[in-house]
Symmetry: C2
Subunit: 421 residues, 2 copies
């Protein structure tokens, strides 16, 4: 299959020919096409009716290569299909938090989806210190519904296994295996260290045994524990929000993996945002504590909300079928005790994955804007050292931290200590 | 595809037409065909040259239904293909312990394989108290080579994921999920209890919380941890041995699952054989202690041999590639520490799976002959109660038992205590 990017007029003509899209944009109107992607990976367009700009869609085209480099850097040809399939699957489970897909065309590597025009990318909003009161409630709902319904706790064994077999996504998993779980822990040419980051902090990632043992266990879990269809890249750049609504986007990394990888990714990014306040609030002439506390509160709220909703879906399913997943009747004490063990183990996984995700954002090639935008190199290095310190503690202590409150207390403690840069 | 069983003359004519088989049996000889299967599941024949009976093969035909019942009880049509693929895969890794496959025919659900005519089914041999001096060495080699080379520790990530996707085996996994991990822990009509087995012992499987939590965790691991291509049914009836050689047969349950499921299955069956000595030796007028000790020694030797060989394969692979699986150079202390953690966790999995496999053999529908052949109902119940007690202890204490010697000491201790029937 050959890939060709559309010109604006070609894209408009193409969309006019798709009834489901044309009806949404207005059949009798000219279309305005605006390219809005960052240009690295994909082509992204806003397309709207010239007559009524409120009638609008997003078009995303994912070429089978890295756009920035060209065909010499191939990417899996099915990544758009995978993203469409995951959006539809998650959308069926959680329609209020997943954009609708109006049209998908595998041959053109293209999909047309709901425009979220009153929403902002969460990472930017958190960098500006915006409070979204419904965020934790929405994300915990999204996590509970998607992670539960893809698992053996809900699906029949053969349905689950068929899904595992279909949702392998080897090429994109490989990126995570390398960039999250391997390269940060070695002297790898792809790593990028900020100018003032102390050599000792980098050296520790390559030599400190308890940290490396824990990171190795998380890598094993990522590669082997096919628990559910995870989003696979659930950082704050994959979420769009406003005061009333929250949407999860960009699931092209979706695969059958460990549940804690999604919960951990989201929590890692709340913690990175929290630690980066030292710069952003002070640069704006504010004290950081209030918003930092709000971010730690969100960390607690999203885990506790998730754990409560997940357990409730599970309990309700067992009562409906009359059977406990571990065998026997649904309402035995043993079924409830197993559920508690399960959620406790899932919290440990969550904290371990959060630690790995934080580390890769500090020393790996893919950074986060709330930290790279810190202009003062010394302050940035202090923030980074604290992030690495917290990440290590989360990884090493993940099985001892008995609640999310224990983890956020640790985060507050590391924040209060001097960052030895 | 329609299935039809061969008559003896049809089978002989068919085999004459297969050059690889015909050459082995002698092209100019009449063939003797003898059916030897137990008749439940498959058709199994010994076919030999009438002129030279040492020229001989085994033919196995696996109809897509339960032979005992007929087409009304369908079985997966690909089970013979799966068994052939697993035999070839394991055979490539471990040719001295896996019978050669000379010919496979998917349309006829048939394969022709190496005849093991001087070997005995290990379960029978152990019931008779035979000592095979090379058994633990051979099985530990088989386990180390097969479990290592199917895993992410050896395979490239995309190779491993392709293998996972292809080796799902949902129907046969379902049998294990039900019969090993679910039905024994509930009042299920498929369970079969021996006449004198005390009600309290059965009741405990349905109500004792620590045991049920542990069994639930093993079920989760079985269904979710796609670590390597496991044999999937590695009990002592799947092994043929003599004083010099050991072969592993019947891998139709092979799938990508947890490594500890194979190591645990083998150890569980050694422990069942050990506990059953109370009857078999005394019935033969011998004291059981010597052979019981030999069986416990084998349990230790197979685990320790496996752990040492597995770690050595891993270490050699890392030195060859120059890279540690956890990132960095192969010879860091952290790489070795991770390896130790890994083997320790694998021992815990092994003991947990061993516990589940022992329980299913006592209360599930599929029994083991060394226990069902105990004629005295009271003695049988004592043996069964001890098996359940040890199984529970292995499950609940699996993470605290720091070595296989700690597990065998526990086995010896339960054996020495009165069985409260």
């Amino acid at each position: 299959m050959h890939f060709e990017a559309f010109s604006a007029s070609e894209l408009a003509a193409y969309l006019k020919g798709i009834p489901a899209v044309s009806a949404r944009l207005g059949e009798d109107s000219e279309l305005d096409v605006m390219e809005v992607g960052d240009g690295n990976l994909n082509y992204v367009y806003f397309v709207s009716s010239a007559r009524d700009p409120r009638r609008s869609v997003v078009v995303k085209q994912a070429p089978p290569f890295l756009r920035l480099v060209g065909e010499s850097w191939p990417l899996p040809r099915e990544r758009m299909e995978r993203e469409v399939a995951a959006l539809r699957r998650f959308g069926a489970l959680c329609p209020e938090h997943v954009p609708s897909v109006y049209h998908a065309d595998s041959e053109k590597y293209l999909m047309v989806m709901q425009r979220l025009d009153s929403h902002r990318v969460l990472r930017q909003a958190l960098t500006e210190g915006i409070v979204y009161p419904r965020l934790a409630g929405h994300i915990s709902t999204f996590l509970a519904r998607t992670l539960f319904h893809g698992s053996d706790l809900y699906l029949a064994p053969n349905e689950k296994k068929t899904a595992v077999s279909g949702d392998i996504n080897a090429e994109l998993c490989r990126i995570t295996e390398d960039l999250v779980f391997t390269f940060p822990f070695e002297d790898n040419p792809s790593n990028v260290y900020s100018p003032a980051l102390p050599a000792a902090a980098v050296e520790r990632l390559r030599t400190h045994e308890p940290l490396r043992r824990a990171a190795g266990e998380m890598k094993w879990a990522f590669m082997n524990h096919a628990e559910t269809l995870v989003h696979g890249d659930l950082h704050t750049g994959s979420i769009m929000a406003n005061e009333h609504e929250t949407y999860v986007i960009d699931p092209e990394f979706a695969f059958y993996g460990p549940m804690g990888f999604d919960t951990g990714a989201f929590i890692a990014n709340l913690l990175l945002a929290c630690y980066a306040r030292e710069w952003h609030d002070r640069a704006a002439g504010r004290e950081p504590q209030a918003y930092q506390r709000w971010l730690l509160d969100q960390t607690e709220a999203v885990w506790n909300g998730f754990a409560q909703k997940f357990a409730q879906l599970w309990r309700a399913h067992e009562h409906e079928t009359g059977r406990a997943w571990i065998g026997g009747a649904a309402d035995t004490r043993a079924a409830e005790a197993f559920r508690e063990d399960f959620m406790r183990r899932l919290l440990a996984d969550t904290l371990g994955f959060a630690g790995c995700k934080m580390i890769r954002r500090i020393v790996g090639v893919a950074k986060v804007a709330e930290i790279t935008s810190i202009e003062d190199e010394a302050v940035r290095a202090q923030v980074e050292v604290r992030c690495l310190k917290l990440a290590e503690a989360l990884l090493v202590q993940r099985r001892e931290l008995a609640s999310i409150e224990a983890a956020t207390a640790l985060a507050a403690q590391v924040l209060a200590e001097p960052a030895n840069t």
